[in-house]
Symmetry: D2
Subunit: 329 residues, 4 copies
C-alpha cells in the first residue's frame, strides 16, 4: 500500500540504509517547470544539523530519472531518487530479539517474519519522508495560488521552543511537539463525499508520516466544550468567508473557501539517551538498552516541511478531482 | 469516492429524504451467518429518541437484497437497503440562497451547482451512517475475537453527561463531546507501510463520519508534553504487551498487540434553537435564521456505535490484508 | 472487486433469483437529466422474447433510489434497483454436486465453499448485466457527442443470422456469435499510459460481461499477416484522420480521433437442449444431464446493447480522466 | 495510471532515452529469495540481437535499490532500476510536427501538449517492458508451482517463422505475429466477480504491452462457429479436469483448474524501411518519411517473455487475493 492519491498519485520506496530511497509521482500534468534548484529550500528545512536534530548529514541531491524533459514535466510518471550516502555500518540485527521500546522493531519483525531490513529503521525510517518532501515541492507548484505553511506551535509543552530543546538536551531525553498547518487561498468545493472528505484525505497521508499521533481541524478537541451557537462560523461575505474558523475551513467534508487549518501532535523521539530496558523476546529476560547511534532530540523540528508536503500532495489530488488543475499546463 | 477499503470494501449511497439509503459490502468472505436480528442492538444504539436526540423516528429495518442466501453470506456483494419513511415534506430550497452556518448547505450548493438534494441534509446527512452501522455489524462478526467498544468520555466539556444535556436543553443550544474507542484482543502486525498504517486507515474512515473534527491515538496530544523515556511503552511480555499504552496499540503504523485506543471529538450539532443569522448569498443581505425541524441537541450521543462500526470495517480490511480472516469461513 | 472505473465508477450487485439486482454509479457529474423513460429503448434491446432468446420475461422497471433529484443527477451516488419478479422456484441445489459443463457451477462451488447462491446462475447470471445497461444509458448521455453502436456481425459462423438461429433451434443446440462495436466522434487523447490504455480499459470491462471469450481492435488478429507498411494507417487530415483504421482508433493505447473499433466473440450458450452428461463430483459417477428451465439459444443476440453500455462506461471514465466532461453540467 | 494490481502491485516509470527506467513492486511477500542472477534468462529472451530484432543493445543490469535485503525480499516495496546506456542522440523533435504513421507520436503530442519526451518513443517505448519482465521474474517465483509459458505460433501469417522473417528482411518491411500463452498447474477459484474475472485481469495488463491488438481465451473467436454442445468442456475428473479446453481454463471468469490458455496478436512493427509519407500537422503538407534509426523487423519475437511476465504478475495478484500465497514465505 505504498501509493497515495487518486489522480495525483505518489508511490514511495526505500530503506534508511538501502542503496537509494525515492518516490514516483504519477498523474502530474504536463508542462510544469521543475528543476533541481526547486528542491533546495524545502530540503534544507527538513535537513538535520541544527540543535536538537541528528548529526547524520545527507547530501539530499534529487536525481530525477523520468517524467521531466528539458526541465518541464512530460505527463509521464516522475521518479526522483536519493542516494543513502551517510549510513554507518554497524550491527542492528540484535533489534529482532531485543526490540527498542517505542520503535517499530517488534512489529516489523512480527509482520515481516524477521526478513525486514532493520538497519536504521529500514522502511519505517523518517528518512523516507525525503521523497514526500520532493513530491511536495512539485505539488506546491501545482496548487498555486493555494499556499501551504506549517510551523511549530510548541515543543515539550512549551511555547519557548529553544528553552524546551535546551532542557531536553540537558536531561538527555527527547521531546515532541505540536505543529499547525494552514492552507490559504483555498477554493470552495474540494473534498468528496462520502469517503474522501478533506479531513479524511489529509489525515490519511498525515498519519503516514512517522511519529504523528493526533490531528485536529479548526477548533478541534476544544469544540467538545463549545456551544453550537458559538462553534458555528458566521458568514460575512457572499463568497463564503466567515468571521471565525472553528470549522478549519471545512464543512461537511468540503472546503468552504476559508483557510484550511489543522494541528498535529508529534510524539517524542523514541530514541533517547536515557537509560532504558527492554525484553529479549526469545528468552524473556530483561536487558539494558543502550541506544547509541545518532538521533534527533526532537524530530518535530524537522517535520513542518513534511506536513506541508503531505498537505500539498492531498490538495493537488483534491484539486485535480475537482478539475481545478488542468491536465496540460 | 463513495467506496472505502481494499479487500473488505463498503460503498455507501442515499440521501436523507430520498427513496432509500443503503450500503454495499464487497469482499465479505462466504460462510458468515447474517440475519436481520443481528442488527437490532446496534441500530437501537444509533437510533434517536432519548433525551438530547431528535424525535425523528425511523424504523430502520434492514432489507438485505443480495449476497446473503439462507442467512449465510455467499461471497457476492451484500447490499442492505433502508426505507426513508419518516421524512417531513417541507420546503428546503431556501437553503441554497441562505445557507445555515456550520452546515454543508453552502459548500454543497457550490460544489454541485445547485443540483444537490438539499432536503434534510441530503447526501451529507447523518442518516447515511445507518448503512455504516449495518456494515459494522457484519464486520464485527468477521473480526471476532477482536472486540470494538466506543463510549462517551465527556459532553460539553463535562464528565456528567446527563447534566451537560440538561444544561444544553435549558439554554436551547447544542453541544458536542469526546468519544473513546478501544479494540481489544488485537493481533500484532495489522497496518501497511507506507500509506496504510493503522492510524491512517482509521482516521480516513472516521473523518467520513459527519461532525468529527479531531482524532488522537494513545496519549495523543498529551504526548507533546511528555519525555521520550516517559512516552515509550515498556515491554512486559514476550508477546509484546506493554506496561503503558501511550502508543495506542500502534508502533510505526503497525498494531503491536496491545489494545487499539483512540479518541475523537464530535463538534456541537450545527442546528440549534438559538437565534442565528446568515447571509443571503445572492443579495448579500443579512437574514435571521430559524431552524425549525427536528434535530439533535447532542449528536455525539448517537455516534459511539458509528465509531465502532467504522473501526470494525477498517479492522476487517486490515485483517484480510494480513490474511487473518479466511476467504471461506 | 465489484467496482469498475476511476472517476466514473460503477458497482454491481445482485443474483439472478435474489430479491433485487442493481448498480451504483459514483462520480457522475451533477446536472445531467435522467428519467425512467431514458432506459426504455436499451432495456428493450436487452430483453428476451424474440426468436433465439429465453422466454423468461422481466419487467425491468428501474427504481432510482438515490443520486437523482427532480429528474436531474445531484452529484451523489446513483443507485438503480430492479426487482427479480419472474423467477421460477425449483431446486438448483444439485448443481453443487453435478455441475453443468460450461457453466460457473463448479468454480463457484469451489471458490465460495458451497455457500454461493446457485439459483439461476446466482451472481454469475447474465441477468446482472441489466445494471450495466442502466449505467450505460447514463454514460451515453454523458459522453455525447461520442456515439457508441454495437451490432451482430455473424452468428454460428454465418452472416445470415436468422438462418443460423433457425438451424440451432432445429438442432436443439445453442450458438455464439461475433459483435462489432464502434464509437464515433471520438476525441484525441483518451487513455492513460502505462496501465490504462484504451484497449486495456475496454477489454477489462468487456470481459466482465458473461460469455465473452475474445476481443480484437481494428485489424485485430488479421494484423498478424499484414506488412507494417500495409498496417500503418496513413494520416489524411491535420486533425489526425487516417485513410484506413487498422489501429481501431488507438495508437500507443491513446485514442487518435478516428472511430474506436473492436469486435468481441460470444461463446455459445452453455445451456442447450442437447443430451449431455457430467460428473457427480462427490461420487465420481457419470450422470446424464437434463437442462430444463428456460434459456437462450443464442445469448449473443441480447449482448450488443450490453457491449455498448460497457463501452460507454469506459469512455465516460476516460473522458473524465482527460477532463473532457465537466463535474457540473 | 502507472500502477496495476490489487495486492501484488507494479508501478512502472521511465522513458526510452531518459536517465533510467524502472519498476516498483509493492505487496510482494517477505522471505522470497531474489538475486541479480534470477533475471538473466528472461532478460536474454527479451533482448534484441537475433535476426529480426533491433541491433540496439542494452546491458540490462538490474539495480535493486530497495525491498531486498541479503538477497531476500523484506516485504517493503521493491524498486528495480535500469540505466539507458545505448541511446543515440539525434534530433527527434520533428516528430511533433510530422508524426510517424502507426506510432504514438501524434497522440502523445496531442495528449501532453508537446511536452512529452519524444526521444525514441519516450514513455511509449517497448523499452519500458524491461521493468515488466523484471517484475515477472519475481512473480514467477511467487506463483510456483503454477508455470507460465508463452511461445510464438506464427509470424506474418506463417508457421515457418524463420522463413517469414527472411521474407520481411528481404522486402524491407516489418511483420507481426501470434503468441500463445499457457499457465499450467492452475488452482481452481482464481478471479473475482464481477469486475476482476481472470480474462479481464489478464487482458488489462496484456493490452498495456505495446503492439498487442487482440486477445482470445481457449477456443476464442472460433467459438462463434461452434455448437454449445461442442464448446462445453466435459468433466473427466472430480477435481474438475475436462476432456477439451475450449474455455481456456476459465468458467464464469473463474479459473477451473485446467490450463489457462490464451493467444494474442502482435501488430507489425510500425517502423519499417519501406518508403512512407506522413502529414506535416502544422502545414498540412504531405512529406516523405525516412525512418532511420535501429528497429525491430518483428517485435513479436521479443514479446513472449513479456507476455509471460504480465501473466505471472496477474496470477500473483489473483492468487494473493485468493490467499493462495502467504504474506510471509
Amino acid at each position: 500500500m505504498n501509493t497515495f492519491g487518486h489522480l495525483f498519485r505518489v508511490s514511495i520506496f526505500g530503506e534508511s540504509h538501502g542503496v537509494q530511497i525515492g518516490i514516483t509521482i504519477d498523474g502530474c500534468p504536463a508542462g510544469l517547470p521543475v528543476s533541481a534548484n526547486d528542491f533546495t529550500t524545502d530540503f534544507n528545512r527538513r535537513r538535520s544539523g541544527s540543535k536538537g536534530t541528528t548529526p547524520r548529514q545527507e547530501t539530499d541531491i534529487p536525481k530525477i530519472v523520468s517524467g521531466v524533459f528539458n526541465d518541464i514535466t512530460t505527463g509521464a510518471p516522475i521518479t526522483i531518487l536519493f542516494d543513502n550516502n551517510n549510513t554507518r555500518s554497524r550491527d542492528y540485527s540484535n533489534l529482532i530479539d531485543t526490540p527498542r521500546p517505542g520503535h517499530a522493531d517488534f512489529v516489523a519483525s512480527q509482520k515481516f517474519g524477521g526478513y525486514e531490513d532493520y538497519r536504521g529503521g529500514g522502511h519505517f525510517s523518517g528518512r523516507i519522508t525525503l521523497g514526500l518532501v520532493a513530491a511536495g515541492v512539485i505539488a506546491k507548484k501545482l496548487i498555486d495560488p493555494v499556499r501551504v505553511e506549517a510551523k511549530i506551535l510548541e515543543i515539550g509543552g512549551q511555547k519557548d521552543i529553544e528553552k524546551a530543546i535546551d532542557l531536553a538536551v540537558e536531561k538527555k531525553d527527547s521531546v515532541g511537539g505540536i505543529i499547525e498547518c494552514t492552507a490559504s487561498h483555498m477554493p470552495v468545493g474540494l473534498g468528496e463525499p462520502f469517503f474522501y472528505p478533506v479531513e479524511a484525505a489529509i489525515s490519511h497521508i498525515i498519519f503516514s508520516v512517522p511519529a504523528i499521533k493526533g490531528i485536529e481541524f479548526g477548533a478541534g478537541f476544544a469544540a467538545a466544550a463549545m456551544w453550537g451557537s458559538e462553534h458555528n462560523d458566521k458568514f460575512v461575505t457572499t463568497s463564503g468567508k466567515t468571521s471565525t474558523n472553528n470549522a478549519g475551513g471545512i464543512n461537511g467534508g468540503i472546503s468552504n473557501g476559508n483557510d484550511l487549518l489543522f494541528r498535529v501532535v508529534v510524539k517524542p523521539t523514541s530514541s533517547t539517551h536515557q537509560p532504558q530496558h527492554t525484553l529479549n523476546m526469545k528468552t524473556g529476560e530483561m536487558v539494558n538498552l543502550e541506544i547509541e547511534g545518532r538521533h534527533d532530540t526532537c524530530i518535530a523540528l524537522r517535520i513542518p516541511v513534511v506536513i506541508e508536503a503531505a498537505t500539498a500532495i492531498v490538495l493537488a489530488d483534491l484539486m485535480m478531482l475537482e478539475q481545478r488543475i488542468s491536465r496540460r499546463l
